[in-house]
């Protein structure tokens, strides 16, 4: 195992990590502020990917695709919030789970109907294709662009939450929602904005993913589960926690998939190792989460409640 291979996997892990962050930031805020379990978040990611792929195929403009994904994701999220979510804030989590489960069935079938069941593909935009020399290692430029976009998004979240008035309201809302409402803040608008922001980020993640993953109905759910693991590890409601946990999970998952089969080949035959490797890598993240929950049930960076 060479050091350059190790470095590449490190970068891949970082790339998955920032993607997970883009998805978990919005979701953890919705969990933390409205205490709303939004299983349909994966659908926003999927729709963002579809919007991006469709617009790119029509216009050949990555920027246009980006706008479609981000704005589309945000608007779709606002629609979901308006029609379904806001009627359920006062209800218990089971109702959220059921309603959003119904939405998943709807959106996946909608995607199948409109775009077909077979995967769609989006090409890497020419400006971002090719490789980059990073510290002596050749790394795909596009993946590096994802890392950059993700880190910029993380910085943007940080600035929004720490430095703006809206961010202050968001922080207050995650600590004490009733108080914020009592203070006369338009809590309905705040909730809708938080939901939409999450949707926009999910759309961005969908945009960034489409050139490297296949865009198909049901693509949101496998990654949603990983996102939920990230949120539980990071601490529900904590964007900061989501950031660190996303990077950790991204690295563990990537490293597991890349290196475990190699490691296993020392002990068992090649084909079994090839098959078992990815499964154990997936299990690794679950085991990581189980360990964190066993030792620190509130997560690694919990929001400190009064």
């Amino acid at each position: 195992m060479t050091s350059s291979l190790f470095f590449i996997q490190l970068l891949n892990g970082l790339q998955l990590g920032v993607l997970l962050f883009m998805l978990s930031a919005g979701l953890t805020l919705v969990f933390g502020i409205m205490s709303f379990v939004n299983l349909a978040h994966g659908c926003l990611y999927m729709m963002g990917a579809y919007f991006a792929a469709t617009v790119y195929a029509a216009t050949d403009s990555f920027v246009a695709a980006g706008v479609a994904a981000v704005v589309g994701g945000g608007l779709l999220a606002a629609l979901v919030e308006w029609v379904v979510a806001r009627r359920l804030y006062a209800r218990d989590h089971l109702d959220h789970v059921l309603a959003t489960f119904g939405l998943i069935l709807f959106f996946n079938e909608l995607a199948r109907w409109v775009w077909g069941a077979s995967p769609s593909y989006m090409n890497v935009p020419p400006a971002l294709s090719g490789t980059l020399d990073i510290l002596g290692v050749m790394y795909p430029m596009y993946r590096f662009a994802i890392i950059s976009a993700g880190l910029i998004a993380a910085l943007g979240c940080y600035l929004l939450i720490a430095k703006t008035r809206l961010g202050m309201l968001i922080r207050a809302g995650s600590l004490n929602p009733t108080m914020v409402a009592a203070l006369g803040v338009n809590i309905r608008l705040l909730n809708a904005l938080v939901f939409s922001l999450g949707g926009a980020l999910a759309g961005l993640a969908g945009l960034m993913s489409s050139p490297i993953l296949s865009v198909q109905p049901g693509m949101g759910e496998p990654i949603l589960i990983l996102v939920m693991i990230v949120i539980v590890i990071g601490g529900i409601g904590s964007v900061q926690g989501a950031f660190y946990a996303a990077l950790m999970v991204g690295l563990i998952d990537t490293a597991g998939r890349a290196f475990l089969p190699m490691l296993l080949r020392e002990f068992i035959d090649r084909s079994s190792a090839q098959a078992a490797g990815p499964a154990i890598a997936s299990m690794l993240t679950c085991i990581f989460m189980a360990t964190v929950l066993a030792l620190r049930p509130q997560g690694l960076f919990p929001v400190k409640n009064k």
């Binding site: 379990v37 359920l88 489960f101 939405l103 709807f106 693991i229 539980v232 154990i280 989460m289």
Partner: protein, 320 residues
């Protein structure tokens, strides 16, 4: 004489289910028998979920895991030539108890959103595990050539399988009816209502919740055992989170925490699916929003509504 709607529904439903195979034979519709067996088996899984969800208030989004474990117990033993039903059933019970105990202990360290997500994550973990087991079919699943054999009772016969499933459902329904009013059931429901108070009264709440959880896992495993015999197949798809979600819908649609609710819910949901499948290939587009509407409007569930009807009319009589 007071007519209780719930009693009418219960007796009526059980009677219909008891004579259904004869009706199916008379109609010469074997599909009806297969469909009903499937409905009963999934109802059994929903009944098991009702114990932790309806009574205990624990939202487990990973119950399909135990359905899968039961199915694979049959599949894996059959692939090694073991078709002894008792052995397969034993394997199911042991496997589900051990896995249920281990995962339950970890999951019950959280509550609320965390619990939902961690149960989902564990189910997903085992899904990936079964996908990776290439020697047992992997992603394609494992076909089962030998059905479970309990000496005289061969699960390969559709009629025997139907009545076995019906017997299991009946047993769980009757037992649950007693359990709900007995100490164990009362403690479980009280823990859902006010766990803090229960601790202060002297109950070690974790022990009760964990016991209920493991029991529920074993019953779901039995459902998986029967399911494998029905389909002749064991597949990772049985552990999919969509299956866990459907089980939750069945419990809530039928009436959470009620004794007969999960059975009513299973029959209703699966019936609706068949109906919609007949109308359009894009049936989830209709079912999805339907589920949303049920959540928004009919939270008590169908059997729950019947219970409410009875309660209102009982009170009316008292007032007279």
């Amino acid at each position: 004489m007071k007519v209780r709607l719930t009693l009418v529904i219960t007796v009526g439903l059980l009677l219909v289910l008891a004579i259904l195979p004869l009706y199916a034979r008379w109609l010469e519709e074997p599909f009806l028998l297969t469909f009903s067996t499937r409905a009963l088996i999934l109802a059994l899984a929903a009944l098991s979920l009702n114990i932790v969800l309806g009574l205990g208030g624990m939202v487990s989004f990973g119950h399909a895991l135990y359905l899968g474990l039961g199915a694979y117990s049959v599949g894996i033993s059959a692939s090694h030539g073991i078709d002894n039903g008792a052995m397969q059933l034993l394997m199911t019970v042991v496997l589900c108890s051990v896995v249920g105990l281990a995962t339950g202990w970890v999951c019950l360290r959280t509550s609320g959103i965390g619990f939902i997500m961690i149960t989902l994550a564990f189910a997903q973990m085992f899904y990936y595990l079964f996908v990776s087991l290439k020697q047992y079919g992997g992603d394609d699943g494992l076909s089962i050539s030998l059905r479970s054999n309990f000496g005289g009772l061969d699960m390969g016969s559709p009629l025997i399988l139907y009545y076995t499933s019906f017997a299991c459902v009946l047993t769980v329904v009757v037992w649950t009816q007693y359990m709900v009013h007995a100490p164990f059931g009362m403690v479980l429901q009280a823990c859902r209502m006010n766990e803090r108070r229960m601790s202060a009264l002297g109950f070690h709440t974790l022990r009760f919740k964990l016991s209920a959880y493991v029991l529920s896992c074993v019953i779901a495993g039995v459902a998986g055992f029967l399911y494998a015999n029905l389909t002749g197949y064991a597949s990772p798809a049985y552990l999919a989170w969509t299956v866990s979600g459907e089980l939750i819908v069945m419990v809530v649609l039928g009436g959470m925490g009620t004794v007969l609710g999960p059975l009513v819910g299973a029959l209703t949901l699966l019936g609706c699916e068949e109906l919609l499948k007949g109308m359009t290939e894009h049936w989830p587009i209709i079912l999805g929003p339907l589920i949303v509407l049920v959540v928004l409007l009919a939270r008590r569930g169908l059997f729950g509504l019947a219970l409410d009807w009875d309660a209102r009319h009982a009170q009316a009589k008292v007032q007279l």
